[in-house]
């Protein structure tokens, strides 16, 4: 292994007075002083969120406005801190999306429990639950910190859908291929 011995010279007179060092330090700080500020004025200015950021978990709708969650409860089972509580419900047979059969009646995520692990997003077969950009949650009571279904859809909004799996299924059924 090659290494270099650093030569340690005794301090020169100028160095022992500290003055040149102090002046160069002051030069550095002065440069900092006139440079633009490095901090954000936080609540007004927000940091850019990188793609793939795991913020607050939310429920999303597909571009047709259908709620994607089919209340399979996989996310409820996988959630390590048991932050998710789902009450499954039926979709009424006269509804347009009746072929989907199930939808959550109530869907609650307790943000005091959630650890932002993203497992719910990973496990969801319907791509219905997404961890999105919201990173700052606050509230005055414990109840406020539980996001109910309405709030979850508000936060989630609509995300593009690559598959339209239920539409395809319905089309296949109508074309006489029930096992699609």
């Amino acid at each position: 292994m090659s290494f270099k011995t650093v030569e340690r010279r005794p301090l020169s007179l100028a160095e022992r007075t500290y003055v040149p060092q102090i002046l160069s330090g002051m030069k550095t700080t002065f440069k900092k002083m006139v440079k633009p500020k490095e901090t954000l004025n936080y609540p007004e200015a927000r940091p850019p969120i990188p793609p793939g950021y795991r913020g607050v978990p939310t429920l999303v709708k597909d571009p047709n406005g259908r709620e994607k969650c089919v209340s399979c409860q996989l996310c409820e089972f996988v959630c390590p801190p048991k932050a998710i509580r789902i009450t499954p419900g039926e979709i009424p047979p006269d509804a347009e999306t009746a072929h989907v059969e199930k939808a959550p009646e109530e869907f609650e995520i307790d943000m005091l429990r959630c650890i932002y692990c993203g497992l719910c997003q990973e496990v969801c077969p319907e791509e219905a639950i997404w961890l999105q950009n919201v990173f700052s949650v606050s509230g005055y009571t414990r109840e406020e910190m539980v996001n109910d279904k309405k709030r979850l859809y508000e936060l989630g909004g609509t995300l593009p859908d690559d598959h339209y799996k239920w539409d395809k299924k319905k089309a296949a059924e109508e074309a006489g291929n029930p096992h699609h």
Binding site: I22, G25, M26, T28, T29, F30, K32, M33, K35, K37, E38, T39, N41
Partner: protein
Amino acid sequence: MMEFYFELPLWLRLTVQGLAVIAVLFPLAGACSMAERKVSAWIQGRPGPSRAIVPWLAWIPGISLLQKLGVFHFTADGGKMFLKEDVAPGSVNKFYYYLAPLIAVVPALCTVTFVPFGAYWDAATETMKPLVLANVDVSMLAVFAVASLGVYSLILAGWASNSKYPFLGGVRASAQLISYELSMTLSVLPVFLWVNAPGGEGSLSLIHVVNTQAQPGLWGGMWYVFLMPLSAFIFLVALFAETNRQPFDMPESEADLVGGFHTEYGELKWGLFFVAEYAHMFVGSAIFMILFCGGWHPFPWLPLDTLLGWLGGIAPIFLNPVVSGVIAVGIFLAKLIFSIFVFMWVRWTLPRFRYDQVMKLGWQKLLPLSIGNLIFYAVAIAIIERS
């Protein structure tokens, strides 16, 4: 107006003058704490306190600039300090505990009496008359004497708090202040040796020092910082130590002493310590500017008299005593504010010395240096004035 003022009894005039000076100095000392926060923020790349605003003033155009500068934070801080509950820990010696902050403020503000802070054009005698509260012949000595009383407040605070950290802070403060006082006093002696030419009347007056820096000619117009750079340097270093500023803020060093001598203090009592510290800084910088940087004269080789003479040629209003006084005080204040800024700038640049380093620097470096400096200038001045 002027005639009316000069017809008032002397005691009333002096009281008004004194209150006027204090009314300027006290808020300035408070505003310094704000400036300190702002300067530290800028150096660290932050905007600093810039949010507070009085809601019913928010409509005034341009007020957001004041808001950005944190002016309302300063008033809010001050208000908070006045309104806070006055608590004293049960273990302290109540009498001395309350006395200490007062002893800190009183000498700090008293020194101002002896510091000339400007001059005005007296049309009757066609000369500049100094503006000072007490025009005494020993003003330099008086400033040193009264300013060093401030150390008692630190010792008292440390001792009366009846707890370890303040006690250590008080001990350190007294040791440090005494050590650096010597070098400080020795470093100003060459100035007075030079100012008091043999045969003339001896004087320790600060006004005299300012006037001698405003004489005609190459040597006469030279500020003493050019003539005696080493003296100025020693004085400045000692000044940093005397005002307990970084890198010499041993008495407070929060890393090892929590808060130092004011650990047990809160609300207004604590605020008074800080007003005292900043007042010391102001007076110290004023002395530095007077001794070494020409006081209220705007530039070396350009005394204020000459400048006012030129301006008076353009518009006679500049020779009005009030206007010329305001100009002189303005120049002096600008120099002071610059020097306070340097104090803060240094504070946020340098790390703190260790206690033994402070002592070593004071006794083994600065003191011999200032003695050598004194001997050198004594000999040099003797030779120059002999020839």
